[in-house]
Symmetry: C2
Subunit: 351 residues, 2 copies
């Protein structure tokens, strides 16, 4: 039951016969004491089972917690299913982890982002937000706490670092290429415009009030080329299954689109499947383009034409920004990473 209380710095200090400060130095500033004493302290600590300074107490004293928070738009499994997110997160983790920082994940609630309470309790001294709705309460919660923040794919907030990608331009690029190939009848498969789980055709009103910046930009990029009356199908999540269903719906319209523009590769993979489902062929009968260029895009059947954005780079950069903010750096200008069109075999001229 009442086993011996956990040892603290004091325990060690008095065991060795030195002051608490010295023990602290043994861990944090080896140059402040003689090597011999340090050795003795560490040994004694090990002997009495002291595992080093308590991280919480240390954080309180130093006023930072060596952790960066990451706010997700959706729940964890949904997030992990998203290859693009995983790559971004990994890029972020690699920079952050190299600096001995932990990653505190704040999973979102049905696409709306984390609950404000979650944010309020999270121990992190900088947080990065990824593709939340523009009006997510979590965003306000972070600001209320006065934590520095870096947003990825999000509208600018005052005093916030930001990394972004030219989603609009990328989408235009893809659509223009198709247009150049002679396509005139398009269909667009997009992921969520609102965090309400809607699946189905998109009305103009819904389009006008889109709460995800990324969705909005990609969509507008496509429609800018194809025309505002292009049919758009919304999927609640960026999943292959939903993309398949959406594409199937679009392809059943008359006249049938000759090209499908998808807001993500994942949706595009579903579209590929849908085309096959209907006994048609890609790209002979229908061209399909994706967005992101996840690794699988290269290996799909057929390999996917898609808009490449530097995902890992995005994460890494966000990590660096976060680290810089931690050092008291200023947010600075938003970084805009380049996009490019990767032409593979899922697109062909429309005869």
């Amino acid at each position: 039951m009442d086993r011996p209380r956990k040892p603290t710095l004091d325990t060690v200090a008095s065991a060795v016969g030195v002051s608490r400060a010295t023990v602290s130095n043994a861990y944090n500033r080896p140059d402040q004491l003689s090597a011999a004493l340090r050795e003795r302290i560490l040994e004694t600590a090990a002997a009495i089972g002291y595992a080093g300074p308590d991280p919480v107490a240390r954080s309180l004293a130093t006023r930072h917690s060596a952790a960066v928070g990451f706010m997700l738009g959706q729940g964890l499994s949904a997030s992990f299913a998203d290859a693009a997110l995983s790559i971004v997160l990994d890029g972020l983790a690699s920079t952050v982890d190299g600096h001995d920082h932990c990653l505190v994940l704040m999973p979102g609630r049905e696409r709306g982002g984390p609950r404000p309470e979650t944010v309020a309790r999270a121990q992190a001294d900088v947080v990065v937000a990824y593709s939340l709705p523009d009006d997510a309460p979590a965003l306000a919660a972070v600001r209320a706490r006065g934590l520095p923040m870096v947003v990825i794919d999000q509208p600018v907030l005052p005093d916030t670092a930001r990394v972004e990608v030219d989603d609009f331009g990328g989408a235009r690029l893809a659509a223009s290429s198709l247009w150049g190939l002679g396509h005139r009848r398009f269909g667009v498969v997009t992921f969520a415009l609102h965090p309400d789980g809607h699946n189905g055709p998109v009305t103009p009103e819904r389009l006008a009030s889109t709460s995800f910046r990324v969705t909005r930009d990609r969509l507008h990029g496509y429609l800018d080329v194809t025309g505002a009356d292009t049919p758009v199908w919304e999927c609640a999540r960026s999943s292959r299954e939903l993309g398949r269903a959406g594409a199937r719906a679009l392809l059943s319209e008359t006249p049938r689109p000759t090209a499908l523009l998808c807001a993500s590769d994942e949706l595009a993979f579903g579209a590929l499947q849908a085309v096959r489902d209907l006994g048609l062929r890609v790209p002979a009968d229908v061209s399909v383009v994706g967005f992101d260029d996840v690794p699988a895009a290269e290996h799909s059947d057929p390999p996917l034409t898609t808009v490449r954005q530097p995902l890992a780079e995005k994460g890494r950069h966000a990590g660096e920004l976060a680290l810089r903010l931690l050092d008291g750096g200023r947010p600075g200008e938003p970084t805009r990473l380049p996009v490019s069109l990767v032409s593979r075999d899922s697109t062909a001229p429309q005869k």
Copy 2:
């Protein structure tokens, strides 16, 4: 530059003209003060920009941090690429988050688990370990800190809660079924036996010293039925690509195996591809079985026969265990979740 210091409990207390304790109560024990006063406190707090008690200070005072740590065997992107892990993690997150706890991720270093320093600094009051090498230093680091721990798919450690699955039995189940279908020539594709990045055939010595419990059990389950001389190919990670390469290698041997036993679905998907690569058909020429039953198994081509383990359940249960340990509960007996064979179309009788 020197903007006003961040407000604290005291700031609010003196602004309202009450004691600090009362303000604290306003946040943590509404029943301890009159509704009117509480209202006034909260209003004032909002007015001066106080976002609620500092989580770190609160943690120090209460001696718990409302976070559960999660130790990964590998880096984040590798982890996220693993569908099974994602599901487990999501199950865990859902129970944990429901109780207002955060998830602190500790990414591993090349399959060996997180660095001990990472563990030492992580602010969590219980940690769950997932499929680390049996001798991971991170495990020792957790014990050194005296943190309660729940391990998933890991050998028992004293004083540790545990959830596991009958990997050996499950593997036997799959192998026996194939045996029953008349197969006599097998090949096994497995993921890492050691955290050293090895890809290639497995020697008996290597097999004998396997440092991942899961790998060991599944392998032994297969070999128990097929015989110890069955060729085994090891992949450094559980990826489709590596599985494909491994399967291709096994299928090039003479006599060619008629059935491929894979340690994971991901590897099995690669094997499916490999069979096609060689111009053979599944299951007519070669039967393939996986392990895990991730959602994609149902939709592969052909749908995969695999050993089903309740992944989400595993995560949820681990979360509950973690929460219970937090409440001072005892670890209790390891929970063993059931496995079953899901027969789909990737297996057929050997004529």
